[in-house]
Symmetry: C2
Subunit: 271 residues, 2 copies
């Protein structure tokens, strides 16, 4: 299914038999990942993705692969695709049975290309609320770790292809994000987004949007948000490294027709 | 490192290259597992383990492997060991990129034997409190899923081999369990254990202890418990399928010398 894959820098003879039985990524979700867009021969925001990957490893106590080595893997695969999704997984590697990490484990790195999704041009998306909540844990908040059952269960809630994304609340009812995106609201011409202090992922596109908004003179704020903030927003959009900045047109009974802020940001980001 | 392993019923040519790159167990921790004790040619409580595995699959929407097929795998491996830990992993199998589960995925099953840990006879254990908390999520509570970063981080908190286990609280400060065990308190001759309604694993040995205690006429209760309940307990013990019923002698400044209830239960369970 993947176009190409490298495991620890080597193209596996058989992708169906490629990962070690004892890899802690399989046993415990003990690792982190990145999904980036490869377009016109270039991985968008690769520096930022590699920085977050290293930060995630640090938070989990995983000795990360040398970024130069990861760049070399990415370079090797990138030549083969005009437009694709680049996925990087770093696990703690092979270890004995039991949760305790061994200092002797050497991280496993998987770098793979997947087909890029077909996206409608810039029309507003239809979203839904997910029933599955996100558990809080400051130890895991912000990083893109491999414990993703909550997102899996959330996406399993709907099969209707016209719904592009589901918004998730945490177990206390606070707004977190989409299942695979961050969410932004426009409120009195200012931009607000959940602060991911308890859970959720500090998305790369989220970071780029915050950076570019400041450059454009748009006030930004990361803070606790709730469903009523979404209802009161004059504009809602989601962000992801693969899908970019995407305006929301519909969420349950709510409708948004204009997206001037998202349009400006999308243009500024060339995404 | 494993003594023996079967993947989908087949012994891999190379255990270092055995699992598919695109297995959702690796990408999302999308699956469940069991750890059981194999002793004197027999897997203790195998029926219960297979039932919980099936229940976990059901909760996650994974079509579980036929229990007869799993039993056959277990049978095939069991012959080779007198005393070992049997681990079964069932993942949702191979799937395309993205969190949404595909109905076309076929579960992957891994059955492996590991060396059994050396356990001191019946002396009381030294425990500690973990700083890492367990996030709450009713969707995941009770089942033994593969999202185990919290337990990994908790066990990484200490390296001192004299400490046998760490107790974990959830994000609200409620007592959950050990990192790899359930916990029981004795209070006025009755047995109490956390109810795992928000998080934690409904352990097989936990279930057996509750069952046997009732048979022995010991009052049992599953309820919300807090650190002060541990402090007030006349006896504390932990349970696990691999370690059985293990009395706690020491936890921070707390000391327990007698373990009449745990001793009775251990004897009744022949563990």
């Amino acid at each position: 299914m993947t176009a190409a894959v490298l495991i620890d820098g080597i193209s596996p003879t058989d992708p169906l038999h490629a990962i070690a039985v004892e890899d802690r990524g399989l046993h415990y979700g003990d690792g982190v990942f990145e999904s980036a867009l490869l377009t016109r021969g270039r991985v968008r925001f690769l520096d930022q993705h590699l920085r977050r990957l290293a930060l995630g490893c640090e938070r989990l106590g995983i000795v990360p692969p040398d970024p130069a080595v990861l760049r070399s893997d990415v370079q090797q695969l990138s030549g083969s695709a005009e437009r694709a999704v680049l996925k990087i997984i770093v696990t703690r590697g092979i270890g004995p049975r039991g949760y305790r990490p061994s200092s002797r484990s050497k991280a496993t790195r998987v770098v793979a290309l997947y087909p890029a999704p077909q996206l409608p041009a810039t029309s507003g998306l239809v979203l839904r609320w997910c029933e599955t909540r996100v558990g809080r844990n400051v130890r895991l908040a912000g990083i893109k770790h491999l414990n993703r059952l909550e997102q899996v269960l959330a996406q399993a809630e709907w099969q209707d292809d016209t719904i592009a994304e589901g918004l998730m609340l945490d177990t206390e009812g606070e707004l977190v994000s989409g299942t695979a995106s961050n969410v932004f609201l426009v409120r009195s011409d200012a931009l607000v987004t959940p602060d991911v202090r308890f859970c959720g992922v500090r998305g790369i596109m989220r970071g780029e949007v915050l950076r570019v908004a400041k450059e454009l003179g748009i006030a930004v704020s990361e803070e606790p948000l709730w469903p009523h903030d979404v209802e009161a927003a004059s504009e809602v959009f989601i962000t992801s490294s693969v899908r970019g900045v995407r305006s929301v047109a519909e969420l349950g009974p709510l409708r948004w027709t204009d997206s001037p802020v998202a349009d400006r940001l999308r243009q500024a980001l060339d995404f």
